[in-house]
């Protein structure tokens, strides 16, 4: 392509002119940059000169005090204590080995810890302080401070560490904190600079983890002048952060302690809920462990012992454990049938000890059969055949809907770790999760709380409270955050016919107070405190026909892990329900023997708010209860002395 001379001349003129203009602009910008350089490095240099002589400015984070956790009475469950430690910065130390050797002559140090610290210093960036001695005494700290000139790069530090004064009692609810791990950091999108502080503690499980955002607070900043050895010379200015907010729980530390102690070394869980507000007064899981072990990093031996224990102390069974609710589910089936007008309260079924459905045999726990059974008796004596018949008429969808209405399968969102939802199975559910069609036998099993039905102790307590009140009571674990009261779980009416509820409650009352009731042995005799309850025994395994013939059905003859789970749910007082309780004893055997006494003791303790008088117990139990009260009193936490409680 040829271009005209004119075009080229015009272009060249314009490029030359514009090029020169651009060059001029660039010269102006260069001038600006040079001026700025001069301003910063010469004019303003005085501002930095005194720092430039020997000192440097360092920005340090001020770790905020973590929010504390209190029970409903103001007793502190998790608080902070000053902790003293020594950190070391590789770059400032010069020769870390020599400095640490000198340090170990001044304070006692474990050779392993020295090796770990040196290793960490080699791995990390040179300007990052590494903790070389943690949890040292005030005397040791002072000794390090006095010898500071001989220890370049070594800094004695005062920090805060978490402590759980009530040890095991609240482990599963409150959880614990621990130093941030690389794994924790990798999971966080935009980590708070605080998390990069050496051994900064964050919540690992329980409320400590779930409420981490509120509890942690916001870092403050101080600008300090440090000398060539990295030692802080003086503070230039500081901007305080915000301490984490305090959290008050609905739990009562005395009751929680009692429940935890009463469960003892059983593998068990218990939940106490306030029928009016839904406040959880105790959420216990046994066995428990001391959360303080985890704060500084637990030893491998201790951790393995916890892991390998077949009673699974690390699991919060109260919310994470899902159990077939067994006969405690019969109220659900009964109410489902009543509400759908399948039966009336007077209808009876005949129990011959076994019911054949599609050539499968379904047995009642009472091999001889109950004879003619009405609703009251079916609950009182826990007849299974009655519910098999009921299931065939009512259908799983109705039972399931009632279960969810009463809280089974809802998995309430309380701020504990790993809260699980139980299962209120439906036909669609089975198809989705098992890939199989629903069969009638499944409904028959579900009606007595076996088969696919699963519930957590928390859900069972809620179920009991909902039956007691007819309202959709919802559990509440946090009473207030930073002094702000959280909404209660009082709940609106469930819309269940009050007559139906009354019949079921009366039957539950008879479970506990009728001489033929399955829970009669563990009744409350104080007239104004009498309770309504329901026993449950859920099979862990299927009883084979061979076993049935051989007669190996007694729990005592089985290894522990194959014995039945024992359950009990109750509410009391019957006339004006205040508290609902659920107890599950894993592999405890029968509900009436293993779970009911525990539930009764817990209920009484909650009702009286202290050790109940012996007169509240049946006369034959007095001796045993007296001994038990004496034993459990010794496990009680001492009254707080070092600081006042807050109301």
């Amino acid at each position: 392509m040829r271009r005209s001379e004119r075009d080229n001349a015009l272009s060249q003129r314009r490029i030359t002119r514009r090029g020169l203009i651009t060059g001029g602009v660039q010269v102006a910008v260069l001038g600006g940059l040079a001026t700025r350089m001069h301003f910063l490095q010469v004019t303003e240099a005085d501002q930095f000169r005194f720092l430039a002589e020997e000192n440097r400015i360092n920005i340090r984070l001020i770790a905020p005090a973590r929010g504390e956790i209190f029970d409903r009475t103001g007793r502190v469950i998790a608080r902070n204590v000053p902790s003293y430690r020594v950190t070391m910065t590789r770059e400032d130390a010069g020769d870390p080995e020599a400095v640490i050797a000198r340090l170990s002559q001044i304070i006692e140090m474990d050779p392993d810890a020295i090796e770990t610290a040196l290793e960490e210093m080699r791995k990390r960036r040179g300007d990052i302080p590494v903790t070389v001695a943690d949890r040292i005494t005030w005397e040791d700290l002072s000794r390090v401070a006095v010898n500071a000139p001989a220890l370049p790069g070594v800094t004695p530090e005062v920090g805060l560490s978490r402590i759980y004064p009530l040890a095991d009692d609240f482990t599963h609810v409150v959880g614990y904190v621990g130093p941030v791990s690389d794994y924790d950091l990798s999971k966080i999108e935009d980590p708070d600079p605080l998390l990069r502080l050496p051994r900064f503690q964050i919540g690992k499980v329980g409320i400590e983890a779930r409420a981490e955002e509120s509890l942690r607070g916001k870092a403050g900043v101080k600008r300090v002048e440090v000398n060539a050895a990295g030692r802080e010379m003086r503070e230039l200015d500081r901007r305080e952060g915000h301490a984490g907010v305090d959290i008050q729980l609905t739990l009562d530390h005395m009751l929680q302690n009692y429940v935890q102690a009463r469960l003892g070394e059983e593998s068990a869980a218990a939940v106490v809920i306030d029928c009016d507000s839904g406040d959880l007064l105790a959420v216990a899981s046994a066995p428990a462990f001391d959360p303080n072990l985890f704060v500084n990093g637990i030893s491998t031996t201790d951790y393995n012992a916890l892991l390998e224990n077949d009673h699974r102390p690390l699991v919060a069974k109260s919310v994470q454990g899902l159990y077939p609710p067994g006969s405690t589910f019969k109220m659900v089936s009964a109410l489902a049938a009543l509400e759908n007008d399948i039966i009336t309260t007077e209808d009876t079924f005949r129990c011959k000890g076994v019911l054949e459905v599609h050539s499968s045999k379904f047995h009642c726990w009472k091999r001889a059969g109950h004879g003619n059974v009405d609703l009251n008796r079916s609950l009182r004596e826990s007849c299974d055949v009655y519910y098999y018949e009921l299931a065939l008429k009512t259908g799983i969808e109705n039972i399931s809907a009632m279960a969810r209405k009463l809280g089974v399968g809802l998995g309430f969102d309380i701020p504990m770790s790993g809260v699980k939802a139980g299962v209120a199975p439906t036909k669609a559910w089975k198809l989705r999760t098992k890939g199989k069609e629903w069969v009638v036998g499944d409904s028959v099993n579900a009606a007595i709380g076996q088969g696919f039905v699963l519930a957590s102790p928390l859900e069972l307590a809620v179920m009991s409270a909902r039956i007691a009140t007819g309202r959709s009571v919802t559990p509440r674990l946090v009473k207030s955050i930073d002094g702000v009261e959280q909404p209660t779980g009082h709940g609106a009416s469930l819309g269940i016919n009050e007559n139906h509820l009354r019949v079921v409650r009366k039957a539950m009352f008879d479970v506990s107070n009728h001489t033929r009731g399955t829970g009669y042995g563990s009744r409350i005799v104080a007239p104004e405190m009498r309770m309504a309850g329901k026993t449950g025994t859920s099979q862990v395994r299927r009883i084979t026909e061979a076993e049935r013939r051989a007669g190996v059905t007694r729990n005592e003859d089985l290894p522990w892990e194959r014995r039945d789970h024992a359950l009990y749910v109750d509410f009391a007082p019957f006339d004006n329900p205040k508290y609902a309780v659920a107890v599950v004893v894993e592999h405890g055997g029968g509900g009436s023997k293993a779970a009911a006494p525990i539930a009764r003791d817990i209920t009484l303790q909650a009702l009286y708010g202290e050790d109940p008088p012996l007169s509240a117990y049946p006369a034959k139990d007095h001796g045993r209860i007296r001994a038990q009260q004496k034993r459990l009193r010794e496990l009680r936490p001492p009254p707080p002395k070092d600081r006042p409680t807050r109301a």
Partner: protein, 379 residues
């Protein structure tokens, strides 16, 4: 006179071309790179690894690349400009699909032997394309809206894609670099006046709208602006870099603390001390005199580029040289302004000094184009 018209006898051929390289520019580039090696050696605490040694190797490769590009006749580069631009665009499209994620942004394509950053390449191929475009376009059409719209689109497409990565620094460089080439080529000044006015208006609108119902930016974006305007208010997060780098610069004084004696930058107050913030180390250790010397070296490179461009009657060669010079200028001007707290931190390296492979090689290739324009200048 266009490139078709030069007579071959005016142009050196064969190895003789080497004597016609623009030696002032070559020597200046070597000088700046050596300063970079010194600084990388220093920030590593007096060690060739991990930065100085690979950087030297790369610069050696870069010099070779520059000479190679310089030996190829300039009209070849003109002819491949469009293909190069489109090819880079394809690579940019590929980045989100096959690219690696680094530093929270997706910018790299792993070629096996090196990691390529297409956004770096785009800085040069965009300039090449625009130079070729205006070389082809008759002056009469140059300010016609249609013929202005096309290159604007060609600038905005890669800019938007780079902004997505996200890489604000590079997208600003693309926008300013491309715009400058259009300006130099001779597009009517009213277009630029309009764009500048609109930009100023937008800034005013952004600030005026704050706190009202029609607020233009998110709250966090306003906080970033606040941090820039007053870094002391948030010294730990975004303001940290600026505050620290000013302290480092300021403590350098007239003559600096001496080589390897810098404390601020060596003590890891600055996380990107070997890349974007390397200027602080230089300014701290060599003081104002050192910093102004580097600025002087850069200015000389620009100066020699402009000299050779304005004496070149080949339109493509002149535009390309000025475009490369402008891009180079924007590189160090943006980086220095950022480090000195004049503009927000946007992540642009200091050319030839900051540690980094893609940027260095692309820059050397770009100077190869400048050299080619010089060598094949119609004489």
């Amino acid at each position: 006179m266009s490139y078709l018209e030069h007579t071959v006898k005016y142009v050196p051929t064969g190895p003789r071309k080497l004597f016609y390289l623009n030696w002032p520019i070559t020597l200046l580039l070597i000088a700046v790179a050596c300063l970079g090696f010194l600084m990388l050696y220093s920030v590593a605490g007096g060690s060739y690894s991990p930065w100085a040694e690979p950087q030297m190797k790369r610069f050696g490769l870069g010099l070779f690349l520059m000479v190679f590009v310089a030996m190829v006749p300039i009209y070849f580069w003109r002819n491949v400009a469009l293909v190069a631009y489109l090819g880079t665009l394809v690579l940019l499209v590929l980045v989100p699909i096959i690219g690696d994620v680094g530093m929270g942004a997706q910018r790299w394509i792993d070629l096996g032997f090196m990691r390529l950053q297409p956004s770096e390449l785009m800085k040069i191929t965009l300039v090449m394309f625009l130079a070729a475009y205006y070389d082809w376009l008759p002056m009469a059409k140059i300010s016609h809206p249609l013929w202005v719209g096309l290159p604007v689109l060609m600038i905005l497409i890669p800019t938007a894609m780079v902004l997505q990565q996200p890489d604000l620094g590079t997208s600003i460089l693309l926008l300013l670099g491309g715009g400058t080439v259009m300006y130099i080529a001779g597009v009517h000044w009213a277009y630029f006046a309009a764009v500048i006015a609109a930009g100023v208006g937008l800034v005013v609108a952004v600030f005026q709208s704050r706190g009202t119902d029609w607020q233009l930016l998110n709250d966090y974006q306003y906080r970033r602006i606040d941090t820039f305007l007053d870094p002391a208010a948030d010294p730990l997060n975004a303001g940290y870099h600026i505050t620290q780098s000013k302290i480092a610069l300021g403590s350098g004084g007239w003559t600096g603390r001496g080589y390897m004696q810098g404390t601020q930058s060596r003590l890891n107050f600055l996380p990107e001390k070997h890349t974007d913030f390397i200027f602080t180390t230089l300014a701290e250790e060599f003081g104002f005199l050192g910093a102004i010397s580097l600025l002087g070296l850069y200015a000389l490179i620009i100066f020699f580029c402009i000299i050779t461009a304005l004496s070149n009657s080949n339109r493509f060669a002149a535009l390309l040289t000025l475009g490369v010079a402008t891009t180079f200028f924007l590189f160090f001007a943006v980086n220095m302004s950022m480090v000195m707290g004049l503009i927000p931190v946007v992540g642009v390296p200091l050319p030839l000094v900051s540690y980094g492979g893609s940027a260095m090689l692309v820059l050397m290739a770009a100077f190869g184009l400048v050299q080619s324009a010089h060598v094949h200048k119609p004489r």
